[in-house]
Every structure is written in structure tokens, then in C-alpha cells.
Symmetry: C2
Subunit: 202 residues, 2 copies
DNA sequence: CGTACTTTTGAATCGCATCAAATCTGGTGG
DNA sequence: CCACCAGATTTGATGCGATTCAAAAGTACG
């Protein structure tokens, strides 16, 4: 049994929970959990990609979250039912943890503190994302993305430009066009798997 | 000392923390806390309105959150520094709690569980908000808003249409126009301080 | 009664979505 | 090794919907 557990988890979880970790392989297209179902396991994505989606009353599906690493649905730890579906968009590996033991572990104040920290961080990330989505033009969105998600003005691509486009809420065509425009203006530089924002003085 | 404490807080907080609650009046325009400063107090808005804003590198200010009741910055409980400013947009009352005692209270597993629940709820709300902001046309955004934030297809206005417009990331002019269009189509009904979504079969 | 703000309508413009299609890419199997 | 396929990337043309700027009408408040 070659169970690889990321450092992050070893750091975060109490021994009792760590002992319950299991590896699970998932295929592209596989559904990890269903909306309305009772959460049994918490998923920690190690590789591959999964998304959270919800189908509205009118039958349209929208993506709530794209996850390429980390916990898939932190907010469901105490829920009686999932509020969305989880579907793998790229095959990969996940670590599963029984919800029950995670909940029990919350009585461990060392762990609960870390979990609060985890959730808080996600809230801040989501607020920033909402801020970005409120911006009117793609230029601003892209620059905002690089400034907030990148380091020193350099953003490393998590996947491809297509999913990046949907993350900032625009079509991929429009994103491509904006990128070439910004490049011509000398504001942006496309590197392999990276986007660099060049300093425009002031 | 007529310190009014909302039921929600009495329910949530341990006695030790409740004892430390103080009422604070704030005026429109007042700044409740500053970006970069160390959090000293947690604010619970009772009346009035406050917003979280952040000024980007380029000097533009954007609204991260509009708060008309409840905790103003739950995510900052464990932060060393605020990541945004809080400014009152309407005069009102707040309850302040010393951050320190709140943090200490997290060792109380009954409280930390509730706090985790609080944060989780906010995460789900934010995800739904992001989902809404990703919608392309105002029609969909408005309908999505009523469906997710309202009850039985009826949304009670939290403030005015202008701030509602900025919440869904559109100009108020466009929102007004969309509302009248939807009303003409018989999809929407404007009630005093309410918006009702009429059932379009299927 | 005046001031400030929201609500509402109008007109012009522009950016983005949309649809289409070509090119490029990596991966698969013959 | 090449043919092939699915998907990403890129460019083009068109139309719609939202922004923008302007201004009028309504409303709340001191």
C-alpha cells in the first residue's frame, strides 16, 4: 500500500484522522459526490481536477468551483447534505477522509483552529474572486487575476487558458484577444505556462 | 447601560465572550478598521450598513462585501492584519467583541463548531455569489438572485436597487431596464420593498 | 422648500458573446 | 513513423446587450 499523504495534510490532521486516510483514484467524468446526498467522505484532491457544479431549477449547470488540489468541499464538513455535485474533469488521485472522524476531530482545539484558518482563507479567496468577477472589462479582470493570484506579477497557469477564461467569467475567445492586445501594448508577457505583468510606471 | 444583544449572538457565544460585548455607535462615513492594522475587535453589525473595501495597487477602490447585519469580517478572526478596510455607509449600531477573547473561546469545542458552521455558510454564500456574477446577462443574474437569496420566489430588498445592482455587478440603469422588461413579460412583479418571481411553467 | 439621493427614461457607443473556421498541439493506434 | 482525433489556441465577422453620459422625475429628510 503506497499511500502518499501530502505534507499539508500531515501538518493539518490529528493522528486519529491521518490513520483513516485512504487513497482513491478517480477517472475523468466520474462523479465524486451528489447534490442532496449525505456527506460520508471529505475529498482532498492530490492530482487531477474536479469541479463543483449545481443545476438550477431550470436545468442549467454552472460551475461553483474548480479544484486542482486541496480540499474539495471544506464547507460541507458539518452539512447534512451536499449542496452541489462534484465531478472529475481530469483523472487523478484523491485522499478520502471519513467525515465522521473529521467532525470528531473538531473537538481537538488545535485542529479546529487550523480548520477555521483554512475556511477563513477560502472566504478571503472567494471575496477576491467576487471582486474580480464584478469588474466590467476583461483587461481589468486579467490584471486583477495576475496581481492577486500571482507572485510578483507573475502568474503560473494552473491549467489552460480556456478554464482560466471561465474562472474570470469570460469566453476564451475574448480572453485570447485581450491577451494579444495587452502583449502588443507591452503590458503583458506570455511565458511558457506563465503570464507576466510588466510594470507600467504608475 | 442598555446593551441590546441579538439572540443570534446569545446563542452563539460562550458566556465569557458575551460578558465582553460592547455596543458601539458608528456614523455614516466612519472607518471601523483599516487594512494592514491588527484586528483588535470583531464587529457584529446590528443596524446600519458597512462595507469592506480594498484599494488596488493602482488606487482604485472596490467593494468586497456589503454588510447590513451580522459579523463584518469573520475571516479576520485569526489574521494578524486586516486585508481590507471597513467603512460605514449608513449610521448604525455594532456590537464589538475583543478578538482575543473570541480566539480563546475557540478552544471551547462547542463554540468552535458553531464558528466553523458560520464560516462554512459564508463560503457557500460566496460560491453562489460567484456563480451569479459569472452569468452573462442581467436577466439571468436577477432571476438567480431571487431564486437563491429569496424565499419562495420572493426577494425582500435589503436596501435599494442601486446597491443591488452593484451586488450583481451591473449598472443601476441596466438593472432598472431589465426589471421593467421582465415585468412587461410577466416574469417579475415589483412589490413594495420586494421582488416576486412569477412562475413560468417549466 | 431645498438638498441629496434614488429611480427612471433616452441615445450613442463599445466591448464582449456568439458562431464559424483555421491552425496547432498532444496523444493514440495502426 | 505516420495518420488520425480530440482538444486547445487563434483569427474573423456580426449583432446584441450593457456601459456610458445625460437629464428628468420622484422621494426622503432636515
Amino acid at each position: 500500500m503506497d499511500l502518499y499523504i501530502p505534507e499539508l495534510l500531515k501538518e493539518l490532521l490529528p493522528k486519529e484522522v491521518l490513520a483513516q486516510c485512504r487513497a482513491q483514484h478517480f477517472e475523468k467524468g466520474e462523479q465524486l459526490f451528489h447534490q442532496g446526498k449525505k456527506p460520508e467522505y471529505m475529498f482532498f484532491i492530490v492530482s487531477g481536477e474536479a469541479i463543483l457544479t449545481r443545476t438550477s431549477n431550470h436545468g442549467e449547470a454552472t460551475t461553483l468551483q474548480r479544484c486542482k488540489g486541496g480540499f474539495l468541499s471544506e464547507a460541507s464538513l458539518l452539512s447534512d447534505a451536499y449542496h452541489c455535485d462534484a465531478i472529475a474533469t481530469q483523472s487523478g488521485q484523491a485522499i478520502t477522509l471519513p467525515i465522521k472522524s473529521l467532525r470528531d476531530a473538531l473537538t481537538d482545539s488545535k485542529f479546529s483552529l487550523k480548520w477555521v484558518q483554512l475556511l477563513s482563507k477560502e472566504i478571503m479567496r472567494l471575496r477576491t474572486q467576487s471582486e474580480r468577477l464584478s469588474l466590467k472589462d476583461i483587461r481589468s479582470k486579467l490584471i486583477h487575476l495576475i496581481e492577486t493570484e500571482g507572485k510578483q506579477g507573475v502568474l503560473t497557469l494552473q491549467s489552460d487558458y480556456k478554464s482560466m477564461a471561465s474562472e474570470i467569467g469570460v469566453t476564451h475567445e475574448a480572453l485570447y484577444r485581450t491577451m494579444t492586445t495587452l502583449e502588443k501594448e507591452g503590458v503583458l508577457k506570455k511565458l511558457p505556462n506563465c503570464l507576466e505583468l510588466l510594470q507600467t510606471k504608475k
